[in-house]
Symmetry: C2
Subunit: 308 residues, 2 copies
Amino acid sequence: MSILLISQSRDMAPYREAMLKTDPNLDIEIWPNIKNKERVTFAVAWNHPGNVFGGYPNLKAVSSLGAGADHLLNDTSIGADVALCRVVAPSLAAQMSDYCLTWIYNIMRKTIPYYEQQKTGGWKMLPARSKDEMKIGVMGMGEIGRYVAEKIRDAGFQVNGWSRSRKEIPGITSYTQDETGEFLAATNTLICLLPHTAETENILDLELFKKLQKPGWIINVGRGAHLEEDDLIYALDMNILEGAVLDVFKEEPLPESHLFRGRRNIIITPHIAAVTQPRDVTDQLIDNYKRSLSGMKLLNPVSRENGY
Amino acid sequence: MSILLISQSRDMAPYREAMLKTDPNLDIEIWPNIKNKERVTFAVAWNHPGNVFGGYPNLKAVSSLGAGADHLLNDTSIGADVALCRVVAPSLAAQMSDYCLTWIYNIMRKTIPYYEQQKTGGWKMLPARSKDEMKIGVMGMGEIGRYVAEKIRDAGFQVNGWSRSRKEIPGITSYTQDETGEFLAATNTLICLLPHTAETENILDLELFKKLQKPGWIINVGRGAHLEEDDLIYALDMNILEGAVLDVFKEEPLPESHLFRGRRNIIITPHIAAVTQPRDVTDQLIDNYKRSLSGMKLLNPVSRENGY
């Protein structure tokens, strides 16, 4: 039995090293240099090449290396009998809330306009936004979304949450799918932390932007597939939105010629809002590997039915 | 009796308006259009022209419009029998803590390097700093300093405080003047919130920078006079410091030709970390005016002996 680590974009050697440090008896292969595909029973995948799981007859389970699992759900080469799971690392939620708070503060305190002014030699006080003028909305109140919403609330901001079912969280106003209009009317800084499903694809579109309270900002830390890119450009050009902070994109790396680049009201970061560190996930990867071998239920399973 | 509002840099009309709304019987003059200097018994000053208080024989008290009062203490035209005071606005401390948190997050999450990378079309993950690698130190644990330190602690950062006398604040390590070396060795992100006195002038100098833990950052939100400007340039050039965030300067507005401009590792904001809003201070200004008329002790007095 062996474990396969597979990613096109991330160096998997540090993960292998950390896992071997915990259990030196593990047999761990790193794609694309695989000695024996038949021995692979467990795979850990992140931004992996599509449909490469055909040649692994004994594959029992595949784990995402992050909170998102759409790259596994969309891969038709993973047999229906293969169990899917993901990692839940407290540090992912903490990194995510820090990223969101960084940009909430920057929007409020006009960091980028001041930085641009610095370059031109200016010295002008820009109109300030007070804390109670920032109305934060979090779409997607799963484990990470809820954590992020609570941390933003703890920092003294008003927070609304939007989710399928109503959530009772102290100090956070909960809206359900039937109350989307009210949620958007009460929100001017929208954080997308939804899972990627057929229902949520392109959910950040012109119709939504128009309902958002002004001055409207989008912070997308969910998936690039959530954002209707042309609608964002249009909404910014028409002053329907004031700006956007994007960490995820339909195509990553974002092409150098992409329309989003070089616009002052679009902030781009290279998918770094929350990065799984080896020390955060070693134990749960090994645990799920051993569970899959003995036919036990996996930790943090991904449901093909729910799509996350 | 009348009140004089005097500032070279700030429009005082909104303060006059707010005070008259609270008490329409007040007589309030705005410098330089003063009808009757002899009637002025109370002045409110912010960045006022030096030594203009000679012609006010009945002046009883002068209030700063901010937390700092060195512009009053240094003005030799204010008689020794004139009482000095300043404003204490909770919103000033809140704005200050938000400004400091904004930049702590930006230093941790490398906001400016990512923003510069965006402009060049790059897509590179920059080495991350984790929250527990940020060691925040607050110099000056007065009312604002203590509030700022507590808010930074509440956001999950390690915080050290430096002050004349030891402070017992849960979760904040207190250092006194005799322990400056230990304080700096335990700190890599130094926030200056000291009052400006002879003792604190140029306290942010090369000797201090060398003792700071690396990678060292200075956030100066105290007074420009605290910073030895040439030493900062030298320390950045020699990689003794990694960067600086400056909201206050020896000369304001910062001259267009100043050495600090155009350096990527110096962030400049135009003295906007905490701006006194009329609604925040109207009541206490009127209160101190009436106290001064009836010979009562002023609220938030400034001591000529302590220098703050």
